[in-house]
């Protein structure tokens, strides 16, 4: 019994230990790494992936996947750009509202495709959606990069708290918001009926249906929530870069998010995953990127390392599942 608990705890903190180890290695490798301002940089760089990972996590829990997350976020940003340039709308509230509506609507569509139109696996439908959205993003702003957004739109992505000019760069607001959202997620996933139903639909959709849970509605909600998180990520992207760049739609937001969730303990088989694990996963990825940049490695090496981390993460996922199955078999004897 005791060893089992130890194993449980070890399994839970293993990603955290890996992150700490990574920090130690990078601190030893370069003195530029472990400084207050660089730590703030990492948090800043984590925000976008963290938000999109939260979108991805809930989808993964239902044994699904959403490959359209990145393209969705960029489309949300470009929709604001279109309103500004083509219609001359500069009212921040309108822009933000359209951004959020776009994201939620795209997510809702993904949910409908999966449940009501019976597409076989969300991999297919969201892959298709990703391409559609990439095209739409280019289309709505006529392939131009749009800049000069009103301050209220860029506020979330660009502001820093407790900033000292020339010294402390400040705590990025976007990361604080990310943490607040994660806390809401934590309570949502663990303490509400809807949250628990999401795990149950992921673990066994047929048992959930026969127990009176409307699996279709749950799935539509999950994909809509994913779209909502993408729209928030869009606001941070616009805030950080000060532009809406349609060609960013093909950036690997989706794979980064999947990697973060898997590193944090989610599984492609569904039914598993926690929001805090996902935070560690997202931090790990931005830390690797940040560290490698400080070490002056070329972008080619960064791609290779991130790629290997993704493979390792999936490998860890399947090995963990196999070990658990083996333990179960042994326990049954």
């Amino acid at each position: 019994m005791k060893t089992k608990k130890m194993k449980d705890i070890l399994g839970k903190v293993a990603p955290l230990l890996a992150l700490v180890l990574l920090f130690i290695v990078l601190s030893l490798a370069t003195e530029k790494f472990f400084t207050l301002n660089n730590m703030m940089n990492i948090l800043r760089q984590t925000a976008v992936n963290g938000l999109i990972s939260a979108a991805m996590l809930v989808v993964l829990i239902t044994a699904g996947i959403d490959l359209s997350v990145g393209a969705n976020a960029i489309l949300c940003a470009c929709m604001m750009g279109m309103l500004k340039t083509s219609f001359g709308i500069t009212n921040s509230l309108v822009l933000i509202l359209v951004c959020i509506i776009t994201g939620v609507f795209i997510g809702f569509l993904n949910g409908i495709l999966l449940t009501k139109m019976h597409l076989p696996h969300p991999f297919v439908s969201t892959l298709g959606m990703k391409n559609v959205l990439c095209g739409l993003a280019l289309f709505v702003v006529s392939t131009k990069t749009i800049s000069d957004f009103p301050a209220a739109v860029t506020f979330l992505g660009s502001s820093n708290l407790f900033k000292v000019s020339g010294g402390f760069s400040g705590i990025p607001l976007c990361f604080i918001v990310l943490i607040l959202i994660y806390i809401v997620y934590h309570f949502f996933l663990n303490k509400t009926a809807l949250g628990r139903m999401i795990y149950c639909v992921g673990g066994n959709p047929e048992a959930a249906r026969l127990s009176g849970i409307n699996s279709d509605n749950i799935l539509i909600f999950v994909y809509s929530l994913s779209g909502f998180m993408c729209s928030i990520a869009a606001l941070v992207i616009v805030g950080r870069s000060a532009v809406a760049n349609p060609s960013a739609a093909i950036s690997p937001y989706d794979t980064d998010a999947i990697a973060a969730c898997i590193i944090g303990g989610a599984s492609f088989m569904g039914g598993k995953g926690t929001i805090w694990g996902t935070l560690i996963g997202a931090l790990m990825i931005s830390t690797i990127r940040n560290g490698l940049t400080l070490l002056n490695t070329s972008s080619s090496v960064q791609y290779i390392v991130i790629g290997l981390v993704i493979i390792a993460a999936v490998f860890i996922d399947v090995t963990r599942t196999r070990m658990e199955a083996k333990a179960k078999r042994l326990a049954a004897k």
Binding site: K191, G203, N204, L210, S211, I213
Partner: protein, 501 residues
């Protein structure tokens, strides 16, 4: 040389906790059609799997044409000339008939790495023709009906020069004409000297086709006789001839008002004009063979599957139920036969599974009322005697019986009025079975309506107040504990094609 093509002597096959086949003997003569019959779980499948090398028996010996063999895998059995056409066909629907026939023995052009399709098509066409099927072998297998797909399987067996072809309920998914064609083919195979082991649930087919019939029961050989020495009654009593153990704690409760009435329920190809009613305070048993439409009836009533026509009344009021959610709202609980696939979320805790059907009622404002859930889970665990270290244990870790109690707990927590138990004691040990019966008794005593679908006749007879027998999607008749003698032979006769008078 021996007189027998295949002979089994004292073969025993054990699985953890059960003896699936005990001291089995069987003799099949060359070129005979040998029928095999027995109740669900009598050991027929085990016998087939031992003969085809899927299972390796612990004791006993198998002889083929007098030579002792011990198959280590299905390939060795095939080489020895034993082929099997399983109930679930092994057909790749998107490949052509030829490709399917040659799936593991394709012919190459001489001295070339490429397939000799001309030759393969020719042979495939010839074999199909010899089975009475003049079809285009280049077409996809899936474009043909079940009858022809089955013939493709038989063709595979013929091409490996099988001496014995086992057919596992070959007519179960065929139409009338296809059955006729199959019979013709089976007879022509016999003329070629191939022996057939014909496993079937349908007595009339056995009488029409077989030279001899073997009956199995509880994993043992009961009898083998020439078909002309047998009749319906003697076969049925041989199949069910066991004595009832007194392991059923039946209580007599006072039946109350009508809880559920179903009228003229139809579903194309599955249910035909099913009408019955169930009362409060009684256990209504549903007997019949696997596939008789019992589960399908209640999946339709509960809202899990759509149906074509029919009316459902609950407490005398007409209701329309289109989803399990609606079924639950009408006061129904449905314990499915497949508890792992349909009853539980194995990766979640006992606690979560216990509230799976009424999560929304366990909240206080936005969040779960953890205290209420803890209390409920503790109550369930002690009431139903669920053996689990804590309520937070993952359900997949529990034993079958305890998992089943969690499913029952889940439904009791919805405060349902009508409990449909589909094979409630399948795969659980005897002790847990009695506990499940006691829970059913408690429900009945509390005035609930309990419906029990079961393929175990002793259980049906031991626990039911009334019994309804189904066969091929129809209700064949009804027996009552008060007015009729509940006995296995009467029920079996109805289930296997007779009438209840």
């Amino acid at each position: 040389m021996s007189n027998y093509l295949v002979e089994l002597k004292g073969v025993t096959k054990r699985f953890p906790g059960v003896v699936a086949m005990r001291n089995m003997s069987l003799q099949i003569r060359p070129g005979e059609i040998h029928g095999l019959i027995g109740e669900n779980g009598a050991g027929k499948s085990t016998l087939i799997k031992v003969l085809t090398g899927v299972h390796i028996p612990e004791e006993g010996s198998i002889y083929i044409e007098g030579n002792k063999v011990s198959f280590k895998n299905p390939n060795e059995a095939a080489t020895a000339g034993i082929a099997c056409v399983y109930q679930e066909l092994n057909i790749v629907k998107l490949l052509s008939v030829t490709d399917n026939i040659f799936i593991n023995k394709a012919i190459n052009k001489k001295g070339s790495p490429f397939l000799d399709y001309t030759k393969m098509h020719e042979i495939a066409h010839e074999v199909m023709l010899s089975l009475g099927q003049d079809i285009a072998v280049k077409k996809e297998c899936g474009s043909y009906g079940m009858g022809i797909q089955q013939m493709v399987e038989i063709a595979k067996a013929v091409l490996i020069d099988a001496k014995l072809i086992i057919m596992d309920e070959p007519t179960s998914s065929l139409g009338e004409k296809e059955v006729e064609q199959l019979m013709k083919t089976v007879r022509s195979l016999k003329e070629k000297g191939i022996a057939i082991l014909f496993v079937s649930h349908k007595l009339e087919e056995l009488f029409e086709l077989c030279d001899r019939v073997t009956v199995m029961r509880d994993g043992e050989h009961i009898l083998t006789k020439n078909t002309d020495e047998l009749d319906n009654d003697s076969l049925i009593s041989a199949m069910v001839g066991r004595t009832l153990d007194n392991q059923y704690p039946k209580i007599e409760a006072e039946p109350g008002t009508e809880a559920l009435r179903v009228e003229h329920l139809n579903s194309a190809g599955v249910l035909r004009d099913v009408s019955f009613h169930a009362n409060h305070g009684e256990i209504l048993g549903f007997a019949g063979l696997v596939g008789a439409g019992r589960t399908e009836t209640f999946r339709a009533v509960f809202g899990a599957d759509p149906y074509d026509s029919g009316e459902i009344y609950i407490n005398g009021e007409k209701v329309v139920i289109k989803s399990p959610k609606a079924g639950i709202r009408c006061g129904m609980a449905f314990l499915t036969e497949d508890r792992k696939g349909q009853g539980l979320v194995l990766s979640q805790s006992v606690r979560t599974n216990l509230i799976l059907s009424n999560m929304r009622r366990c909240t206080k404002g936005l969040f779960f009322d953890e205290k209420q859930i803890d209390q409920l889970a503790e109550e369930n665990i002690s009431d139903l005697k669920i053996k689990t270290p804590t309520a937070d244990e993952v359900v997949g870790q529990l034993s079958g019986g305890n998992q089943q109690k969690v499913v029952i707990g889940k439904w009791i927590n919805t405060n349902a009025d009508i409990y449909i138990f589909d094979e409630p004691t399948r795969g659980i040990d005897v002790g847990a079975k009695v506990e499940v019966y006691n829970i059913m008794n408690r429900l009945v005593r509390a005035g609930k309506c309990v419906i029990m679908i079961s393929s175990e006749l002793p259980e049906i007879i031991g626990m039911s107040d009334r019994v309804i027998v189904m066969r091929e999607g129809r209700i064949m008749g009804e027996l009552s504990r008060k007015t009729d003698v509940l006995n296995q032979e009467i029920i079996m006769k109805a289930a296997w094609g007779g009438e209840i008078r």
